[in-house]
């Protein structure tokens, strides 16, 4: 999601510098065309790899609202939540997705709508939802 050889040239504390490299070599048009409120639908073990947090910093900064995945790598799950980027693990929802379907996520009630289908997920504990709502751990810790 973010090329490893750039890790120590661009610090993860500089989101605006990360954005041009998001998904480079995978989907080159992503960084130019991503819009606030976009949703990403993806497959197994999303975010597999190292503990670098550049991807979640960049995706959150770009305004990606949610990721709906079949499964997720643990470190990415944690890092995403800590950047205010919620990940919803719902394999059946990903299977049901057809290109063109609208995806609506309701975090409060734990519902994902894919086209005309509805899927439920267990909402995260309150403290974690607060972290997401305050747009990440940095802000949350500042406030607590």
């Amino acid at each position: 999601m973010f090329a490893g050889n750039l890790t120590y040239n661009i610090n993860s504390s500089e989101p605006e510098k990360i954005i041009p490299y998001l998904f480079k070599g995978f989907d080159d048009s992503f960084s130019e065309r991503v819009q606030r409120g976009d949703v990403i639908v993806a497959g197994e073990n999303f975010g597999c790899g190292s503990s670098r947090e550049h991807p979640s910093v960049g995706l959150s900064y770009a305004g990606v609202k949610a990721l709906v995945v079949k499964s997720v790598s643990r470190i990415f799950f944690r890092s995403a939540i800590n950047q205010g980027l919620p990940i919803i693990v719902l394999p059946e929802a990903v299977d049901a997705y057809k290109p063109g379907d609208k995806v609506v996520v309701n975090f409060e009630n734990g519902i994902v709508e894919i086209g005309t289908n509805r899927f439920d997920f267990a909402p995260l504990p309150k403290k974690l939802m607060e972290i997401i709502e305050t747009k990440g751990l940095v802000n949350w810790i500042k406030e607590h």
Binding site: N5, Y8, I40, N45, S79, V138
Partner: protein, 438 residues
């Protein structure tokens, strides 16, 4: 009522629950430079518990450009200013090896590195976290944990030398795939015949199975290694509930490699034997220990690698470097054509010295062979045990380390992680949704 797994005991909660806890050790390395900035952004000035951090400069040690050098110096200044005691400067070794001086049974350890799980060999809960979380712990002293489900791996018998713990670790990765233990805790049982160094190799590879952590019990082998009675060891109940149990006869394991470009692309040595290799790396947090270097030296003693062959050796710590220097192991490796690097991560992650040239096939004792991992997308990386790497270096081609070469084929069809490929002009954004599912 069912018994508890290791993680359910150490967190005092059932699987699936989320608990907040104060870790005993918080590891960071070169990334401390960046964590420091996030810490400041959080409004952090003084680390809440300055006995919590463990900071090791290893990923680019010694630094290869001015920016890195400046980062390193900034970290030294920060360590001084914060009064951090557990700091290991350039040349001390790889953070996961240095961890062996600090980890004690029953500890909760987190680190901003995906191979933090290596410390599970010391009967600790040890897991990787991201940089922001590390900054958060510096400030608050605690973080959240989701108590994971557990995969139990029961080992029977003993490995048939030169078959190594690395072969076993790759075997398991190949068997269950790179997400086979996704978000799980891996408990190793029946471990009596494995040394602590071998356990570190196994725990190290847990992140390549997608696991949160891997752990070994507080047994006599560990007690002997630590040189003291274990007081706070934690272990699972007999009747604990597991998501999956895997039984393995160690006598069945044969030498294997992880072929390019996935760690779970595991093949029997006979399936790749004869593949020409131009570079070999013996080292890293996976296999840069005393026993690993000695095994390699034994194979290379009095012999020479082919002309032009690049044999790199990076001892995992200064202690190991010194010991292998004194006892003559390094001399043997150098005589054979080896080039000894500073105790560090070396070229493993593509930043240190020893980046392979275009078209090179590299055979390495490391834990990752992703495309471009060693700093060149036009090179291929095979992962194997120190014995296989040393033998292959000697012949310039992948070679079975056993006297009697085997013909075995790796028995598991890989549940290999699918890679989504996007062709030019392929538009994946429709109605505000990016479709990366197929």
């Amino acid at each position: 009522m069912a018994g508890k797994t290791f993680v359910e005991k150490i967190f005092g909660a059932k699987k699936g629950s989320i608990v907040f806890k104060r870790p005993d050790i918080v590891l960071s390395h070169d990334n401390t430079a960046s964590i420091r900035k996030t810490f400041a952004k959080m409004g952090g000035t003084k680390i809440k518990y300055n006995n919590q951090p463990l900071i090791v400069l290893d990923h680019n040690a010694p630094p290869t450009n001015a920016k890195l050098s400046n980062d390193y110096q900034a970290i030294r200044d920060f360590v001084k200013e914060q009064g951090i005691k557990r700091f290991h400067d350039v040349g001390s070794g790889i953070c996961h090896q240095i961890m062996s001086y600090h980890a004690k049974p029953g500890m909760v350890i987190v680190g901003s590195d995906s191979h933090t799980c290596t410390a599970g060999a010391f009967n600790t809960f040890a897991a990787g976290i991201d940089r922001t979380e590390t900054a958060g712990i510096w400030k608050n002293g605690e973080t959240w944990f989701r108590v994971p489900e557990t995969l139990k791996i029961v080992l029977h018998g003993a490995l048939k030398k030169p078959v190594a713990a690395k072969d076993l670790a790759l075997w398991i990765v190949g068997m269950i795939g790179s997400s086979g233990a996704n978000y799980m805790s891996v408990e190793y049982h029946g471990e009596e015949t494995l040394s602590v160094s071998e356990r570190m190799t196994l725990a190290n590879l847990a992140s390549e199975m997608g696991a949160k952590n891997a752990v070994f019990p507080p047994d006599e082998v560990l007690e002997q290694y630590l040189g003291e009675r274990i007081e706070n060891g934690v272990w699972a109940d007999e009747d604990a509930e597991y998501s999956r149990i895997i039984e393995i006869n160690l006598g069945d394991i044969f030498p294997v490699v992880a072929a390019p470009h996935h760690v779970d692309n595991v093949k029997g040595i006979s399936e790749v034997a004869g593949t020409k290799v131009q570079e070999a790396l013996i080292g890293t947090c996976t296999n840069g220990r005393l026993d690993d270097l000695r095994i390699a030296a034994e194979i290379l003693k009095g012999k020479k690698v082919p002309e032009g062959f690049q044999l790199l050796v990076a001892p995992a710590s200064k202690k190991i470097y010194l010991q292998t220097a004194i006892e003559g192991t390094l001399e043997t490796l150098m005589d054979a054509g080896g080039n000894i690097l500073s105790p560090s991560c070396g070229p493993c992650l593509g930043t240190g010295q020893g980046i392979p040239a275009d078209g090179y096939n590299v055979i390495s004792t490391a834990n990752r062979n992703f495309l471009g991992r060693m700093g060149n997308k036009n090179a291929n990386i095979y992962l194997a045990s120190p014995a296989t790497v040393a033998t292959s270096a000697l012949y310039g081609e992948i070679t079975d380390p056993r006297e009697e070469k085997g013909k075995e084929v790796f028995p598991y069809k890989k549940e290999q992680s699918k890679t989504v490929e996007i062709k030019e002009g392929d538009d994946r954004r429709i109605n505000g949704v990016w479709n990366y599912s197929i």
